[in-house]
Subunit: 209 residues, 2 copies
């Protein structure tokens, strides 16, 4: 039987949007099951036992001949969906270079650009703990560094890897294009702005909720 | 011509050790070029211009028909070296699941388990900034959560993914097996200890410097 895909997600999460964007660019149907992470809906015993022991979303559920299988980590879920497609370069170096940017996204970009958006746009600055407030300046600088690295890279090319869109773009687009919700000024990054516009015109593109 | 590999590294870094362990398990020769990150040797103009604009190690240099190419991000470098080998499962789900653990390593494990080792073992608790000191309790809990997730996963299997060693094990081994240098008590994780012993007996295994 053909595989069926269910995304366990919170629509405010850019990590979840990565998977929806991958599926949309590939024309793959995706069933959506929503949770409210602010209400702890991914920390229930049922969620921890069945969906993800780590208590995090997104999780991609894959129903097929092997029964239901669950894949946490947004970039791994994108990799699964895009297997054999043009979103993963066939060239060995380009493929590793694509993963390089996806690891950069999770290590250097998301913990700064996405966390400041979460804290300032959803939690609210007045509700931050003293410890979170103390971390704002360092995360601001690290987020700017991540955006600047992308800016310099994209000044000379249309997409992050090779000449075409790949999962490196899909992974970096979600939190970059809403970085202003975390207080980052995108007007400082003209190549990044052109890249954001370019992603928005791809066939099959869907916006973030 | 055959490709030649040079690793730009600091021997104290578990991220660098991942790449040396991958090459050793595969029997690939690797030239080593060492830098002292504590002295800023990866922030020189030459390093930033040629090796990695991000100013970080490890970087895998690949010399071949296309000239010298540079691949930052430890897990991407491991992926490149292991291309076509048994360290990357051929099964589509297992391959994505392997990447899932490699992203988990960079997002949930390294920033806590490795950072506490760096702060306590190399920088020294007396030399931490107030902000770093304030982050210790949260990083302690998040590091324990990461180790506990591995413990529960490994209680039922010999390796992280499928029945054989893969890059998921290679990525998670370095900082896990020296977690006690960051103040984590490995005696609380018996399945993890058996897995550490198992990795140490693999053909070609090399210890961390």
């Amino acid at each position: 039987m053909a595989e069926m895909y269910t995304l366990h997600e919170d629509p405010r999460s850019g990590n979840c949007y990565k998977i929806k964007l991958t599926a949309a660019l590939l024309g793959l149907p995706l069933t959506i099951r929503q949770y409210d992470i602010m209400r702890g809906e991914t920390r229930t015993p049922e969620f921890l036992q069945t969906i993800n022991r780590n208590g995090r979303i997104p999780v991609l559920q894959i129903d097929g001949d092997s029964g239901a299988r669950f894949l946490p980590e947004s970039n791994a879920a994108c990799w699964y969906l895009a297997g054999g497609s043009e979103l993963i370069p066939a060239d060995r170096f380009d493929q590793a270079d694509m993963l390089r940017w996806m690891f950069f996204e999770q290590y250097n970009h998301e913990p700064n650009v996405a966390t400041l958006r979460f804290w300032l746009h959803f939690v609210g600055e007045a509700n931050l703990s003293d410890q979170q407030r103390a971390m704002l300046p360092a995360k601001r600088i690290a987020g700017q560094d991540a955006l600047q690295l992308m800016e310099e890279h994209l000044a000379q090319r249309n997409f992050m890897v090779g000449g075409n869109v790949s999962l490196a773009d899909v992974a970096l687009f979600p939190y970059t294009h809403v970085a202003e919700e975390g207080g980052f000024g995108l007007e400082d990054y003209p190549a990044l702005c052109r890249w954001i516009d370019r992603i928005g015109t791809l066939p099959g593109f869907v916006p973030m909720d």
